[in-house]
């Protein structure tokens, strides 16, 4: 069975698998996965506008799931979130307008792919560098530098514990994230999270607020505006969401057993491989070498499927070991309980026979024992 995304017809199982992989990676590494969905759909043959619109619709669904998972934590700074969302909306619109105008000129695919190559390679290389860097200083150490940017009007963010900050900082961040979201179809969390850290906002609030902004800004508004231009394949987005919803649960649970920092090495490799696969696609499109086009899809899907299966396998093995450990612990606890119970019975029986014990003159030994 196939589903149509614009002029492309993509196998349903392939879409389900892609969604599952993005869900596992997203749940495990805490990223939205838009930067895998959009290039993957494009390398599978979907026109770039449809790839972006459908990717944003899928991000909307997964961001609901992520937000529901965090709803009890109360980590959203609504004041900051609303400023970011309001700044993002016109920027998403501008990003979409840019894509549609470039599509008319026949340049949209090339331009978006170029941006993806830069983003994926830069992000992957940065993660790889951080992994091997010995001095792992917190991004919050940049706080002072950012706070020196004091262009009025100044606002306070009580929930985030920020007393005074220039309004222009979240506005510029929202605009930048929005343009990128509308232009390449990403949620924007990978930009917002480090930037919000640099504003000195606590980690939990950064994650909660970022999710809130992705849900309303990139997800809701992005889907709405691309659907308005008839660039969303809702069926494909729903199929990918079904896969991603299971994958996200597995990925999130796997973090309980794994040292995610160690796995970041593998994630950086996936980003670099995704970048290379888009270079292949670009080469095949620009020079008409279809040989590279085939490799592009294979490389991206193999990297995503391989890593997702690795994480799923890791979860299954670890949870089984965990259950065994719980079983052993329960066994030991039961054995101790049984011994205690028997000991109490013996002591009680001894007390009942206290007279006999006292008469036998053995009682000092009983207490000593």
């Amino acid at each position: 069975m196939v589903l149509s995304i614009g002029s492309a017809h993509i196998n349903l199982v392939l879409l389900l698998t892609l969604g599952f992989c993005v869900g596992v990676l997203g749940g495990f590494f805490g990223v939205g996965g838009g930067f895998i969905i959009t290039p993957a759909l494009n390398t599978l043959g979907a026109p770039i506008g449809f790839a972006i619109g459908t990717g944003l619709a899928q991000i909307l669904g997964t961001s609901v799931i992520a937000t529901l998972k965090h709803r009890k934590l109360g980590n959203v700074d609504f004041k900051l979130g609303i400023i970011l969302v309001l700044s993002m909306v016109p920027a998403v619109e501008a990003g979409k307008a840019l894509v549609l105008n470039l599509t008319k000129l026949g340049m949209a695919g090339d331009m978006v792919r170029n941006v993806y190559i830069v983003l994926l390679v830069a992000f992957g290389a940065q993660m790889l560098r951080d992994y091997f860097k010995k001095d792992k200083s917190s991004p919050a150490t940049n706080k002072r530098r950012w706070f020196s940017f004091n262009l009025p009007p100044m606002i306070s963010l009580n929930k985030s514990g920020v007393e005074k900050i220039s309004l222009w900082m979240p506005v510029v961040l929202g605009l930048g994230t929005g343009i990128l979201s509308g232009f390449v179809g990403v949620g924007g969390g990978f930009i917002m999270v480090p930037m919000l850290y640099m504003m000195g906002i606590p980690t939990a609030t950064v994650v909660g607020t970022s999710l809130f902004v992705i849900l309303l800004g990139s997800g809701t508004y992005g889907t709405f505006t691309y659907a308005l231009s008839n660039e969303v394949s809702l069926g494909a987005a729903l199929v990918m969401l079904a896969g991603a919803s299971l994958g996200a649960q597995i990925g999130a649970r796997a973090t309980l057993y794994a040292n995610v920092k160690r796995f970041r090495f593998l994630f950086s490799i996936i980003l670099l491989l995704a970048g290379v696969s888009i270079i292949f696609k670009q080469v095949s499109t620009l020079h008409g070498w279809s040989f590279f086009g085939g490799y592009s899809t294979d490389l991206l899907m193999s990297a995503a499927v391989g890593m997702s299966l690795f994480i799923t396998g890791f979860l299954l093995i670890s949870s089984r070991k965990d259950r065994t450990a719980v079983g052993v612990a329960n066994g030991v606890r039961n054995a101790i309980g049984l011994v205690r119970h028997l000991a109490e019975k013996i002591v009680r029986a001894d007390l009942m026979n206290a007279d006999a014990i006292l008469e036998s003159k053995d009682w000092p030994y009983l207490w000593r024992g």
Binding site: L60, K69, T223, A227, L234, L238, L241, S245, Q249
Partner: protein
């Protein structure tokens, strides 16, 4: 753009519907897998 003309266009209604469908699907799928994976005994 005239807001009333926008309302009357099927794309506008379809856009609102798309957002609503994706939002509700996310919620339903979240609840579904929470229950299923809970049944499998994978703790969280």
């Amino acid at each position: 753009m005239n807001i009333f003309a926008l309302f009357q266009s099927s794309h506008f209604v379809w856009s609102i519907l798309s957002v609503a469908i994706m939002l509700s699907s996310g919620g339903i799928l979240y609840a579904f897998w929470e229950k299923v994976l809970g049944g499998w005994g994978i703790r969280h």
